[in-house]
């Protein structure tokens, strides 16, 4: 699959601090891509380079195989972490304005905006001033502004910060939908658990450096610790637990660790063969958060800020 985005050795220095330190990664077309790392890791700096808000000192950035140029911003939809709108403008006019800045004609913009407003069931907001909207409502408008010009690359920086669960789900659904229409999406967040299940590929950034990159399930498989959790009815003979380290055990719920890799199907079969009724069974894969901390520690680095600090 072709890559929509390819970064090679990108460096960006602000005065004395290296915000982006030789970062390279690539992102396949049509994928949902997570750019993860703690606050201050350099994610926003990277995004600003990709969106041409700033320029990299060195390194190459290719979009669809072409070096970044002035036409690319029209093909990118960017929702910054710090987002705002002109308070005094009417919602409809505002969206048209932003869409036209992305290269749409007045007519195209109107059609697309009406389409999206109907989709979000907010058509009656057209003549409302932005300042009359609640924060959640403004976020919907913001999202429309990000995707209205049908960008092939959508970049969402901390998209769920300050978003209520309903809007968050709405946006997740729309993201899936947009992907199915061919868009590629970058999620940038420090809340790794929020994107674990959505992203296919990730890049982990710490202190401006790329510490880990790859397919999420592959990474998880590679980093798994042979942990299993199961819940059974009936007695399990102590002999069965031999060769496994029991980490937790209560009321028939067990968490066990194998010293070596074990096929989950085979383990489940031995469990069934042991004559107990299996209520639940899963292999515990490490969370991205754990993987991140582990990787950083392995590389002898420190994490700039604690993870999962709510905004």
């Amino acid at each position: 699959m072709a890559n929509i985005l390819e970064l090679t050795d990108v460096v960006k220095t602000y005065q004395t601090t290296k915000a982006v330190d030789h970062v390279s990664f690539s992102m396949p077309k049509g994928s949902i891509f997570g750019m993860l790392g703690p606050n201050g890791a350099g994610k926003t700096s990277l995004i600003r380079i990709i969106t041409r808000i700033t320029q990299a000192d060195t390194g190459s950035i290719l979009i669809n195989g072409l070096p970044l140029n002035d036409d690319h911003p029209e093909d990118i939809g960017y929702m910054p972490e710090e987002r705002g709108l002109y308070k005094k403008m009417k919602v409809g006019d505002h969206l048209i304005y932003l869409a036209r800045l992305k290269g749409l004609s007045e007519k195209q913009a109107k059609e697309a905006i009406h389409h999206w407003m109907e989709k979000f069931d907010i058509s009656d907001w057209w003549n409302k001033k932005v300042e009359e909207l609640s924060k959640g409502m403004q976020q919907k408008v913001q999202f429309i502004a990000t995707v209205v010009h049908k960008p092939s690359l959508i970049i969402l920086d901390e998209p769920f910060s300050g978003l209520d669960p309903i809007n968050a789900n709405l946006i997740k659904d729309e993201i899936d939908h947009l992907r199915s229409e061919g868009a590629s999406i970058i999620f940038s967040t420090h809340r790794m658990e929020q994107v674990e299940e959505i992203c296919e590929r990730i890049v982990l950034i710490n202190r401006g450096q790329n510490v880990l990159e790859g397919n999420v399930s592959e990474i998880k498989q590679r980093r798994k610790k042979n942990l299993f959790r199961y819940h059974v009815n009936g007695e399990i003979s102590p002999a069965f637990l031999e060769g496994k380290e029991v980490i937790d055990q209560s009321n028939g719920a067990y968490t066990v660790r194998f010293t070596e890799e074990r096929d989950s199907n085979l383990f489940l079969k031995t469990l069934v063969d042991a004559g107990v009724y299996v209520n639940g069974f899963e292999e515990i894969l490490p969370s991205l958060n754990e993987i991140f901390i582990q990787t950083v520690q392995e590389q002898g680095m420190t994490i700039e800020e604690p993870l999962n600090t709510p905004l």
């Binding site: 911003p73 990118i76 910054p80 705002g84 800045l101």
Partner: protein
């Protein structure tokens, strides 16, 4: 280019369509007139308490005939001075004025005595002085048996008429410098106000965009420089619109006010003076001359030049205000300390402008009108005084170069500033931003 146009359009329309804009634009000329009427009223305000003054004219020089002045009423009671003093104490008169006989018909000074327990107000004092002086003059003329017409002919009014030194040069009248100064002053004030009002408008709007956090959305679509220029041009167009409306409205409203209130602007500005001391024929002559002078001014040269300087000065200072706005965010206090270095040259230019309308060809005026930080305000003030072409050309070239430089410089600061949050900005820091890479 297309996007720049979109930004200009938004910046323009979002302001022009505001109710507050429409109101200020329409009401300012009215407010101006109300202000001037009010000032005129205050200036022409005289003591409103009736002053009853008893005059004891010991030599009957006034012949019991003296004009009451406004609220000051004169009377010539026959009672002796002591009685009058007692009456004054009882409040029947405000005071008693004693006019002693002239010791010498040729005396140049004459002392009157005023008995009262309150001080004479300045107005009343000068009214009495002028009335008595006129009457004594008439008395002297009559006593000396002089021909009043001959005496009147002793006064000669002088007018200096500038003539061209080369044959066929432009013959101008003495009104020229007064009119030039007035015109220059108006243009200078317009420049000064334009720079401040619209410069501040830009600064506030940049600060708002930054605090609003819309700016990052915007510059993911357009370049910071485009956003800045769009704003400067858009707000500039707003300013032009406003000025245009005022230029049309102010004369209209003043004519209207004139018609409705029968209000004479000329009289208002110099209360009492113009009407009482100037011969109506002279007045008419002066108005005619002024009209002629206004007609002879090369409007087709001055107005385009004024516009050029206006645009240059506006871009120069507006871009600086935009840079400051981008650096400070929502901190008004901080913005004030950073606008100070911008305001100082504007203020200096303003004062030089005021001097320049009086001495348009002084060394100070000439060099200030060439120095690009001052020229947008000083040069328009000199335009009505036949400024040599080389000075205008040099001034414009320097201004254009400076505008390009300052806009570029502000653009460099702006693009860093709008993305910089939560940091106190110093001038030194702004200097560093200029050299940052993209």
């Amino acid at each position: 280019m297309n996007k720049l146009w979109l930004i200009i359009r938004r910046e323009y329309l979002s302001r022009v369509q505001k109710k507050s804009f429409i109101l200020t634009t329409l009401l300012t000329p009215l407010a101006f007139l109300v202000f001037f009427i009010f000032v005129g009223f205050i200036m022409s305000y005289e003591s409103d308490e009736a002053n009853k003054i008893a005059i004891v004219d010991q030599d009957n020089m006034l012949k019991k005939a003296i004009k009451d002045d406004g609220n000051t009423f004169f009377s010539f009671p026959t009672a002796p001075l002591d009685t009058l003093k007692a009456q004054t104490l009882r409040g029947e008169y405000n005071g008693v004025l004693v006019i002693p006989p002239l010791s010498d018909i040729q005396a140049r000074d004459h002392k009157l005595y005023y008995y009262s327990d309150d001080q004479l107000s300045l107005d009343v004092e000068s009214a009495i002085e002028s009335a008595v002086s006129t009457r004594i003059r008439e008395y002297k003329i009559a006593t000396m048996n002089l021909d009043p017409q001959l005496v009147e002919s002793l006064r000669t009014s002088i007018e200096i008429d500038p003539e061209p030194i080369v044959e066929g040069g432009e013959d101008i009248s003495s009104m020229r410098s007064a009119i030039g100064a007035g015109l220059g002053f108006i243009m200078g004030i317009m420049m000064y106000m334009g720079v401040f009002i619209y410069g501040m408008m830009i600064m506030r709007s940049v600060m708002e965009e930054k605090t609003n956090r819309i700016v990052e959305v915007m510059i993911s679509s357009i370049k910071p420089f485009q956003l800045m220029m769009g704003k400067i041009i858009g707000v500039g167009a707003v300013g032009m619109t406003q000025f245009l409306v005022w230029i049309i409205l102010i004369p209209m409203v003043s004519v209207l006010v004139n018609l409705v209130f029968g209000f004479d602007a000329q009289q208002m500005q110099t209360p009492g003076m113009a009407a009482s001391q100037m011969d109506p024929d002279d007045m008419q002559g002066m108005v005619m001359m002024a009209m002629q002078e206004l007609g002879s001014i090369d409007w087709w040269v001055i107005i385009p030049l004024f516009l050029l300087f206006f645009i240059g000065g506006y871009f120069l200072y507006a871009s600086l205000f935009a840079a400051v706005g981008s650096a400070v965010g929502d901190d008004i206090g901080e913005s004030q300390s950073l606008t100070l270095p911008i305001s100082i040259p504007v203020l200096i230019a303003f004062y030089i402008m005021m001097v320049s309308v009086r001495t348009p060809h002084s060394t100070l005026a000439v060099w200030a009108s060439i120095f690009p930080l001052f020229s947008p305000i000083v040069m328009p003030a000199r335009l009505a005084f036949d400024v040599p072409w080389w000075q205008i050309a040099l001034s414009l070239v320097l201004l254009a170069a400076t505008v390009v430089f300052f806009v570029w410089l502000s653009g460099r600061i702006y693009r860093i500033g709008i993305l910089m949050y939560g940091k106190k900005v110093t001038l030194k820091e702004l200097g560093k931003w200029m050299f940052y890479k993209g």
